[in-house]
Structure formats: structure tokens, C-alpha cells
């Protein structure tokens, strides 16, 4: 029986056998060996064995992966180091393993660089704008932080549902403070939104007492100032800032309430006997009238 190595050293072509799969060749070899009636064809069997060996060798080559090289390249890509391959062709020839991965690598790198470049450009523009605004006395970053603080709030539980709802008797502290100075009733018992007292200042003036309360609400701060004069004020009363919009008067009983707007805020001012009151915030005139009606 001839050595298989001889066949390997002198490879021949067996087109019919080479088209068959390993299983078919194995089956064919088995049939040839089990053919008891006739003498086995050694040359034919050797040919089958040679083709099977060749196919097994090809299959083994196809499955073999250079794991060390693949690991090395993975580290290079993962850490963002530049690849040793300077051209796509070089990459293809140097590494048959992970061929598809290497082909797509240059595209990923260029996309990453593009994103980084865009981010750097945006950062530069933001810094330039911030620097310019800062040069003119406007702290842009702090303004953004303040806007975020005013816009976004953490509200827990069921409170969130009720913050924008009307509140009954929102000024109990102010009412108590005013009651200690005068019997005149000037404090409303209704507010269109929930108000939370944040500050109360009682000042003894030369001409009376001034009570200034500040409230926080979902619409921003609300201030309510009540001044109780010792005598009826004749001059030098408060000067109120207002915009070009028309003022509106709202008469309830003997008291005339003056409604005016100051940019985005609206205000109601009235004088009841010797008590001057002013409430202002992000209200509408109609809401102010509702508050006045509740006095």
C-alpha cells in the first residue's frame, strides 16, 4: 500500500472527488473497503484519502484564528491608539484574521475624530460667548443655572397636583400681623395658586408700620406689602413701576383698587382708610379681581 505522504508530495487533481463533501468521501471510502467480492482498488482509495486529507486541512485552516493578534488589535482600538496599519491594503494583507473588523476600523476612527472636532468647536463657541457676556457683566453660566433652578423643581408626592390650584386663606400670617396694627380688613382669603410664605419683614417707619411678605409659588415670587400710616398719607407715598399698558380700576364698596401691569407681572394697589396695600406677582387682572373679591 503506498504511503499517503507520497501522494501529498505529488499532489494530483481529482475533480470529481474534490466536489464531494467529507461525509460523502468517507461513505465512498467505506463502500470501497467493504467491497468483499472484488479486490480493493488501492489507487482509488488512496485518492479518496488524499482528497479527504486535503479537505480536512483546508477546513482546519479556515477555522484557525490568530487570537494573540486579534487581542492586540482589540486593545489598540479600545484604547484609541493609532493603528499600525497605515492603509487599508496593508491591513488586509497583514491580518487575515478579523478581516471584516479591520475593514470597518478606519471609518469608525474618522467618525470619532469628526465628533470630537464638532464637540471642540461647540465648546469653543460656548466659551467665547460666555467670555464676551462676562466682559459685559452678565454671568451667562450663572444665568443658565438660575433659569434651570427656576424652571425645574423637585416636587414630591401629591403636592405637585395641587400647586397650581387655588388656595383658600393663603395669607394667615400677614392677616395676623396687620390685625395687630389696625382693624381695617385688607387681606384677601383667596389666591389662584398655592402660596408659601418665605419672608415677612415688619418695619417701624417714621410715619407708621410697613409689613412686607414674600411668597413662593409655581409662577414665581409674590410680594404683598401693607403699610399702615399713622395719619392719612398725603404725599411721598410709594412709586410703583408699571409698563405702558392701561391701568384698570376695580371698585368694591368705597375702595378703589388700581390694577396695573409691570412687564410680565400684574399688581393691585389700594388705599383703605390709612392702610396702603400692594400685591404683585404673575397674576392676571381677573385673578387679582377674584382675590380682591375675597377680602
Amino acid at each position: 500500500m503506498p504511503e499517503i505522504t507520497i501522494w501529498r508530495d505529488n499532489p494530483k487533481s481529482y475533480p470529481v472527488l474534490e466536489r464531494m463533501t467529507l461525509e460523502e468521501l468517507n461513505c465512498l471510502l467505506g463502500q470501497e473497503m467493504s467491497a468483499l467480492n472484488s479486490e480493493p482498488d488501492v489507487a482509488y482509495m488512496s485518492a479518496i484519502i488524499e482528497v479527504m486529507d486535503k479537505k480536512e486541512a483546508d477546513t482546519a485552516d479556515g477555522l484557525r484564528v490568530d487570537t494573540e493578534a486579534a487581542l492586540h488589535e482589540f486593545h489598540e482600538d479600545y484604547q484609541g491608539k493609532p493603528s499600525m496599519c497605515f492603509s487599508e491594503a496593508a491591513c488586509e494583507t497583514e491580518s487575515s484574521h478579523l478581516f471584516q473588523f479591520q475593514k470597518s476600523k478606519p471609518r469608525n476612527n474618522s467618525a470619532g475624530v469628526r465628533v470630537l472636532r464638532n464637540m471642540a468647536a461647540m465648546l469653543a463657541v460656548v466659551l467665547i460667548l460666555g467670555g464676551t457676556a462676562s466682559a459685559f457683566g452678565v454671568n451667562l453660566f450663572q444665568a443658565v443655572a438660575s433659569w434651570s433652578n427656576e424652571t425645574f423643581h423637585f416636587v414630591f408626592g401629591q403636592e405637585q397636583e395641587h400647586l397650581d390650584e387655588p388656595q383658600a386663606d393663603p395669607f394667615p400670617d400677614l392677616r395676623m400681623a396687620v390685625a395687630q396694627e389696625t382693624d381695617c380688613v385688607v387681606v384677601p382669603t383667596y389666591a389662584p395658586v398655592q402660596l408659601q410664605l418665605t419672608d415677612i419683614n415688619i418695619t417701624e417707619r417714621s410715619d407708621g408700620t410697613s409689613i412686607l411678605t414674600t411668597y413662593a409659588s409655581v409662577r414665581g415670587d409674590v410680594t404683598f406689602r401693607v403699610q399702615i400710616y399713622d395719619t392719612q398719607p398725603l404725599q411721598d407715598s410709594m412709586i410703583y413701576q408699571r409698563d405702558m399698558n392701561e391701568t384698570r380700576t376695580y371698585q368694591v364698596g368705597d375702595v378703589e383698587y388700581i390694577l396695573m401691569s409691570n412687564n410680565e407681572r400684574c399688581r393691585a394697589v389700594w388705599l383703605n382708610e390709612n392702610v396702603e396695600c400692594c400685591i404683585q406677582g404673575h397674576f392676571t387682572f381677573e385673578e387679582l379681581e377674584q382675590m380682591i373679591d375675597s377680602i
Binding site: N201, T214, D236, R265
Partner: protein
């Protein structure tokens, strides 16, 4: 070639951004043509008055109420003008600023009240130029000027 065009565009865009910012900032600060606003996002109401107390003393009383709680609110400066008997024009008698006067401002409040007494000359006329001040938590601030009526000390 493409890179050169791209670089040129980047430089052009940067220049537009910088000069645009400068223009906006200039416009915001007045740019020489200041428009006095009628309304204020900072001040709700103000009050300043002088009253004669006798013995030549003059009391200055100021109250300022902001539209909301401020980081700092109060008075930036008070210039007290004096016109002595027989004189035709007033001169500055006293200037009150943050550096030389306490309690000119309040922190974290929506209002401020200030009362000062000046020992003047009986028979002299006084009036004050007041500059109110309010600064928000974002750091932006505004001032508002007012001149009081005159009062004659006795």
C-alpha cells in the same frame, strides 16, 4: 482643498460669532443711546423722602420693594444736596455709599428700608438723589434713580 475651505469657513464663523456677541452686548448696555424703561423686572415700588427734624437735622427715609426675592436689594448711593440761605445753587453736602454707610442693602430679601439723619444747617434747603439697587441670584442687577422733593431744615 476641501480642508482649506473648511478651515476658512471655521474662521469666518468664529468671527461672525464674536462680532455678533459684541454687537448684542453693546446693544444691551445702551450703546450710547440709552432708553429709559418705564417698567422694571427688578423693582416693584420705591419711596424716598426727606423730612426736617429741627435743629438743622434732616431725616432721609427710603424704602425699596423688589419684584421678587433678591440676592441683594437696597440703595447703591444717596447724594444729599444742600443750598444754603442766600446761595443760588446747591452743592453736595454728603454722599452715602456702600463703603461709608452701614445697612445700605439687605441680602436675600424682597425689600429694604433705610433711615438716616443728617445734621445740616437751619434755613438751608436739602434734596437727595437716590440710586436704588437690586441684584438677582443670577448675578444680574439694576439701578433706579430718583430725586426727592426739597425740604428746608429749621
Amino acid at each position: 482643498m476641501n480642508k482649506r475651505i473648511r478651515a476658512l469657513l471655521c474662521v469666518l464663523l468664529s468671527c461672525i460669532t464674536i462680532f455678533g456677541s459684541l454687537t448684542v452686548a453693546n446693544a444691551a448696555t445702551g450703546g450710547g443711546n440709552t432708553i429709559m424703561p418705564l417698567a422694571s423686572d427688578y423693582f416693584d415700588s420705591t419711596q424716598a423722602s426727606l423730612s426736617a427734624l429741627g435743629s438743622g437735622k434732616v431725616r432721609i427715609e427710603i424704602e425699596v420693594v423688589a419684584t421678587e426675592k433678591m440676592a441683594k436689594v437696597g440703595v447703591a448711593s444717596i447724594v444729599l444736596w444742600e443750598k444754603k440761605p442766600g446761595e443760588t445753587s446747591a452743592t453736595i453736602a454728603k454722599t452715602y455709599v456702600w463703603g461709608n454707610t452701614d445697612n445700605m442693602t439687605t441680602l436675600n430679601s424682597a425689600g429694604h428700608y433705610l433711615k438716616l439723619t443728617y445734621c445740616g444747617i437751619a434755613g438751608a434747603q436739602y434734596h437727595a438723589s437716590v440710586s436704588y439697587y437690586a441684584q438677582t441670584y443670577s448675578g444680574s442687577s439694576d439701578t433706579l434713580s430718583y430725586v426727592t422733593k426739597s425740604v428746608t431744615a429749621y
